[in-house]
Assembly symmetry: D3
Homo-oligomer: 233 residues x 6
């Protein structure tokens, strides 16, 4: 089924994405039950990069970025492009020109399980990319792939219209139907963490706040005054 | 012997650590005879990170950060937490909340042979971390490990109370009893390097300053005017 | 033929290098037909690093930087040192002192398929390095290698006098005799890209500008309104 | 949705699997349009390993094999267990005892994106395993995962009841509904290849048999008598 | 303290090693509380390799095997040589000649966190090696290291006289004083496993034999008839 | 200069190759001064694989094996095909059919810095391959590369007509003009090693045979009776 471009799919409302994007990747990942996180080799090309948007998915051949050119037309305001090759490749599939094109359509960033290039220009134009590599190696335009079919990228299944959130900690996917629920849980988590942050910053101990002492004892944790005590045994 | 927390061990005086920390990781590593360096995959989460302190050691299970919570209570002013999993794991064991907790106790940084998260927050609060990965992947709290037993982290044996020095070049461990001697040798080295730095910046050649020409000749080094000379032979 | 120092070879005129260095690594790599790019694990030690110059090549033993000291004398204004070990090694072969020495001779940077150290000092003195690793691990001075013989570094054959251009995207080599031609082609490419950049930034589509639609259709690309349409089949 | 065991799903008839398994992984992968192949770091623990069966999918925590024990009960004659951890882990999740248990239920092999152990025993009992690592490192039994939910393993989405075929070349997944069609196409391919094999073994050239000369010429392939001819230009 | 050869240390009686070596690496690792296992990149150079003996430890420089030659003299009947470089290196430190030398002294094998060569000859003479790489790359003889000082190899601290057991599953270290206790526990474990092996081979389920059902239920494991049931919710 | 097929180049006489191939990769690598060895990730697909022949070099695009088909015609009795992609790729570029074709022309094996497939068939037909990966992932036929131009493969520069020798230890290249000289030096080395092998097998020590004791002492090697002696200091 290679060579398919699906032109229409349901997106999440941008207002809902904005609400979700108040929270960072780590918080969202926890809030939705520790699922949806891309492999940690997906790194931002510059520190402080942040993006959130509707996933437009693209599969590409190794060393072939033709389908990214095809995908541009399918993008709209608030999208994030998600690209994965059909076999592993670190070539520089993406650079400044494609970024100009995507930016003109309101696309907020790129997640690509491959390489990207023009890092300096992308940084200056503030177009964030999360990639597996930086590489100037160019690509050809010979082979078809698919746009907006479900895609496995960096270990996660992503559907077009899923919400992508990415920052310095990595990239997380929230299923389209779960955005509001995850936002709510993220908020709860953040509020709880804010309380804990204050307590912990004041020197209270997590093992007390979280009530861990009993369970630790039950598991057999043993406190000894010094290492000598162990040798004595 | 899993599930042990050693509560007391000898630390190095903070004044001695301050004196040692004038020098960088590369200098200290050389000064103590090229030992104690952690593997070079241990990288700071932000440029310019620096820390020096007494090691508090923690072993943790794969994907399980419970013992870090246990270790907090054992930390005091001037410590650096050193964490290694019992089998390789890149999960994000450590984030903002634990950093708040450690910071409130005067802990100066974290060295972890695993992943950390909340990179942005940690950078903003200036809590330095040297880790093998950045990952938002959370951990469970189910399995015991040990606190303040000798630990192998990133290829080095570390005892609680050893001094950890870390900067952009990596992480080096100085054995507790050797801190003053290593400081003295680092100073000697730095002074010698300062002289060399000036000479070299003025265009003098290292092979002259270091007197290498004779030994190079003895080893058989041969200067030829051009590559043509080689082909002629 | 180990233990050879070739003292003289043809260099490219610095004015020609200056002209070439207007263009980035990605552009040059494309302009010369996608050859000469070093492997993408060669990364700058700080963001924004840039260098261009004549290659002085050095082969070194694993964990042995003696030949770098030997090579300094062979360097002159506008050179870039290119170093590769005879077997893979991530040790810190290069640091501040060697950088002082090279800088005093007008050397513009280092490309090393191994480790470097003193990252902070190198950043402050603005001496750019592209390396495979950062490591404080020192090296010995026991074994000979060669200076200014052809060298394979990070997957590319490099001759002394080839031009090295390096930036955030990596490192590319331009053969000595091809510098002006590659500069001309880079300029053409840049001019064409400037036009495209404007069109793309204005929202025109690459698949139209580049005339891809016909070829895509011929290859069998198929547009479907929605995923339901696929299931229906 | 962690902690779910789906007890019933549609399987492919074993006769259909037998028919498919006449063909190797490479053939099947080609026949179904080059999809469904697991990442090539999934290697058999002994040469000549072969298996084909219905996928029973299991997600497990890092360093935690509890759900494999849970999954055994869900297996039946002709199944292949497919296991992936929620974050990367090379521990030895699987060994002789679990193999005995699975074998008694007619399970034909294991595909695990993690480590396995007892390689000698598994080889002797002829229970094939494709894994990312061999490791004696044990696992705990503390955390829930899921059985028979869709699972991403080594870069591929796998549904329970998909057919797994594995041999020395790796592991390929065939979607449940496509088994017969893929078998037919594999047979066609094999028959065509048998003819080609004979022609090629007799010295006929692929570029003639496959009619490539015209397309090569059109692309600009140029034959030169010798390298000197190139220099002359 | 580089350049030290410790000539005498306590070894474990060979009879005790023989008793321990009845058990495989995985069993011993479990029996001693899951410690002492070397990193899983340490692989045997041929299938079926097995060895057990007293550790003689050797540290070597990168690309320098001089200290292995020094260490031979310190070996005796029943030893296993354990070698680690001071910085990572995959060179072929060890080949047929050193194996002849070690074999003549009754040494049972080599564990080296680096490369080895002459794989065919070593296989034919049945001298087992566990290494990180196979490489024909030679080494120099210029730098000192240490023999029979404690050594970190592949992530584990090893003392001379510790017992090394190695097989297809990897390499495990048993502390000298713990050999008999670990042997006893290994035997217990093996006997228990023998009973379980029979039960499991007869089709009894581990979750019943090990009494896991209650704890699984308590953790919230939920059985559903089919995936449809989940969607219904 | 992509899209070039050089049809004629000087080969080494097969008798000379036969003479060289008496020796293994490690011996030849040493005999020619430790140069010409391919990176150690190039591994044979089956144990005991051996080949020696004239290099026919092929550059290919990532995921594109078209040029291998083109290269077949350029091969003759006694050749070894050497293939490297223009950017890293682990796809299965080569399988049974190409092997049939090459075998019919007397080609002795393949060295490919990428993946190969049909491992079982290749093993059965005894066609040896040294590759970076095994992968069933297919390739396209869209892009040109070159045949019989100099090629960097796995870190080494290889000219067509250089001699390739490969075995369980890896792959080494001998320059065309140096084959007889390297054969002679390999023979010398082997004869010397045969003498050493006997002495070492009889229990004589290398540090005596090779006269190392004086140099070791000069470097400062120090023998201590036991570790206690060190602590005493």
């Amino acid at each position: 089924m290679s060579g398919i471009v699906v032109q229409s799919f349901e997106r999440t409302a941008l207002a809902d994405i904005t609400a979700l994007a108040e929270f960072g990747v780590a918080t969202i990942h926890e809030a939705q039950g520790r699922k949806g996180l891309l492999a940690c080799y997906m790194r931002p090309i510059y520190a402080g990069a942040q993006a959130a948007g509707n996933a437009v998915t693209v599969s590409v051949g190794p060393g072939d970025n033709w389908m990214i050119h095809v995908a541009v037309e399918q993008c709209r305001e608030g999208d994030v492009l998600v690209v994965a090759p059909t076999s592993p490749c670190d070539n520089g599939y993406f650079g400044e020109l494609l970024a100009c094109s995507l930016k003109s359509r309101g696309v907020r960033g790129l997640v690509i399980e491959a390489g990207c290039r023009d890092v300096k220009a992308l940084s200056e134009m503030n177009f964030p990319v999360w990639s597996r590599a930086v590489s100037a190696q160019g690509t050809v335009k010979e082979s078809l792939g698919d746009v907006n079919l479900p895609l496995v990228c960096a270990g996660q299944l992503i559907h077009p219209g899923d919400v992508v959130v990415a920052d310095d900690d990595g990239v997380v996917i929230v299923a389209r139907g779960e955005v509001r629920a995850v936002t709510a849980k993220s908020r709860e988590r953040e509020e709880k963490e804010a309380r804990n942050r204050e307590q912990l910053s004041n020197g209270q101990l997590g093992i007390d706040i979280y009530g861990m002492r009993a369970k630790l004892k039950e598991k057999g944790l043993r406190y000894v005054a010094s290492a000598d005590e162990l040798k004595a045994k």
